[in-house]
Amino acid sequence: MAEPMGFFTDPTVCIGCKACEVACKQWNQLPALDDERSTMSGDSYDNTRKLDGTHWRHVKFVEQFDEDRRDGRWTMLSDVCKHCVQAGCLEVCPTGAIIRTEFDTVVIQSDSCNGCKACIAACPFGVIDINPVSNTAQKCTLCYDRLQVGMEPACSQACPTDSIVFGPVRELRERAARRVDQLHAAGEKRAVLYGADDKMLGGLNAFFLLVDKPEVYGLPPDPKMPSRNLAPGALFTMLGALVVGLVSLFNFRDRRAGEADRD
């Protein structure tokens, strides 16, 4: 297996140009329209709105201003599939359409997906959705086709400020740690890494530097694997089966015994 590859995204140098979104759509031949519309969202400069089956990169615009707007901050974060080491989508896919590649990335094989939509709900980050062209679930592939021939993913190659950096995850983590130290030294004490270690879903191969709480960027503070409820859910259900079985048998048998006695 090749070395795990991924993205390190640093919003402190993102300028919100959306070159990553355009490059992604161009390379992956994704339609430009949003739900067959081309409308303004009214939410800052964010007309992409969310990650889904046709938006595999999404530049979020986070506006944080005082009520009188004298003081404030405007942060941009290019969001993407996290290619989790423990991937909820891969875990729940009932057709085997979602696979882990030799680069430790997570890819949906469109020709195997039957559009059951389980992966959409299982993803802790809300990354996946149905592509209305293929009617199958789709998301970022981390440009698997480009990786296979030694090329860099389209989004990181297009990023003009290196807000999105592509490379081996091990090297990216070292780079990200140095960047956090640099920001702390510069007085930005809130800078932290999100998903850079294996505590979060075994590690996110696409991880982020944040300068606020994850929720501010629309990221879950404590993402979990969907399977956490499988064993207790199954056990409680079996308990229920036992209860209804006993209640049914007891009542049908009890009556039969009572009637036999009377006979």
């Binding site: 997906c113 959409i120 149905i130 499988l230 259900t237 089966a241 209804v244 039969r256």
Partner: protein, 302 residues
């Protein structure tokens, strides 16, 4: 979503709407009617056989509709077979840790046993001289060999839908592991109500009706208990019910559980004439509760 009560609030909608409500409802009724019919056949007496027969005759058509609904709801219905066979290797596709995979195979297996029981019930109903088919129902080793695994798969399809939504990371759904238990108990309750209604509509006075009435009372009580534990287990995520679907859930619980339970305890109005009304309320309430559960994550999106 700064003040989200759970990380499940950051997930996306799978667009499961009315077809899934239909699926959940029909799975409950199909599995529940078969299970109760098998219990009557295994533990009841000869005079109850026609109530069990009614159950078997209801199960298979419902199961056929479930199959169609499940296929139609796929984004690519032409690829439904990918649930059973991996399309690249053509090997069987089964993931024991994925409720949807378990459910797909369970519905298929259940269909086999439901078909055998349906044939037996149909032949009996029409007084057809198919001697072999009568042996497909208990008593007798062959009938038991059909009814016991059939009842097992019947319970699987009533409960797997609840476990499935608990394993999908959506608000409310995966904030508790108890939906499988709730779905299973309420499925058998609703199926009992359906059998009561069917028997009354046909004008039957089977002794099994009294047993079914007692079973309904018991299971309604169990449902109340399960719902209390479920709400406690939700913790801060219980806030997700403070919307229109919470109101729908409350109405569903009042109609489908509390009112029939009160009627059952009072005896008077429920006695003979009140039982069909209570059964109808249980079915209506069960539908409302399932609808509320299916839709509640949609209004808790980030």
């Amino acid at each position: 979503m700064i003040d989200a009560p759970s990380s499940t609030w950051f997930t996306a909608s799978p667009h499961w709407h009315w077809l899934i409500v239909v699926h959940f409802m029909l799975s409950a009724l199909a599995g529940g009617t078969y299970f109760l019919s098998a219990m009557i056949d295994l533990a009841g007496r000869e005079s109850d056989r026609r109530v069990a027969r009614l159950g078997y005759l209801i199960t298979l058509p419902l199961l056929a509709v479930i199959g169609v609904v499940l296929i139609v709801d796929l984004g690519r219905p032409d690829r439904f077979w990918h649930l059973f066979i991996e399309n690249h290797t053509l090997r069987p596709m089964f993931k024991y840790w994925v409720p949807m995979s378990i459910g797909s195979w369970a519905v298929t297996a259940f269909g086999f046993f439901a078909l055998l029981s349906f044939v037996a019930a149909f032949a009996e109903q029409r007084h057809l001289d198919w001697k072999f088919t009568r042996r497909l129902r208990p008593p007798g080793w062959l009938g038991t060999l059909v009814a016991v695994p059939g009842a097992f798969f019947a319970l699987v399809i009533t409960g797997y839908t609840g476990v499935m939504i608990s394993v999908l990371n959506r608000p409310i759904w995966s904030d508790t592991p108890l939906f499988g238990l709730l779905f299973l108990v309420s499925a058998v309750t609703m199926a009992g109500a359906l059998l009561v209604l069917g028997a009354r509509w046909l004008g039957w006075q089977s002794p099994a009706m009294a047993a079914l009435q007692r079973i309904l009372t018991w299971l309604l009580g169990v449902q109340i208990l399960v719902l209390i534990v479920l709400f406690v287990s939700l913790g801060p995520a219980v806030r997700g019910w403070l919307n229109v679907w919470g109101i729908a859930l409350a109405i569903g619980i009042a109609i489908g559980i509390v009112l029939p339970l009160i009627a059952a305890r009072r005896r008077g109005p429920l006695g003979e004439s009140g039982l069909p009304v209570a059964a109808a309320l249980i079915l209506a309430g069960g539908l409302i509760v399932r609808t509320a559960i299916v839709f509640v994550p949609e209004v808790n999106a980030p």
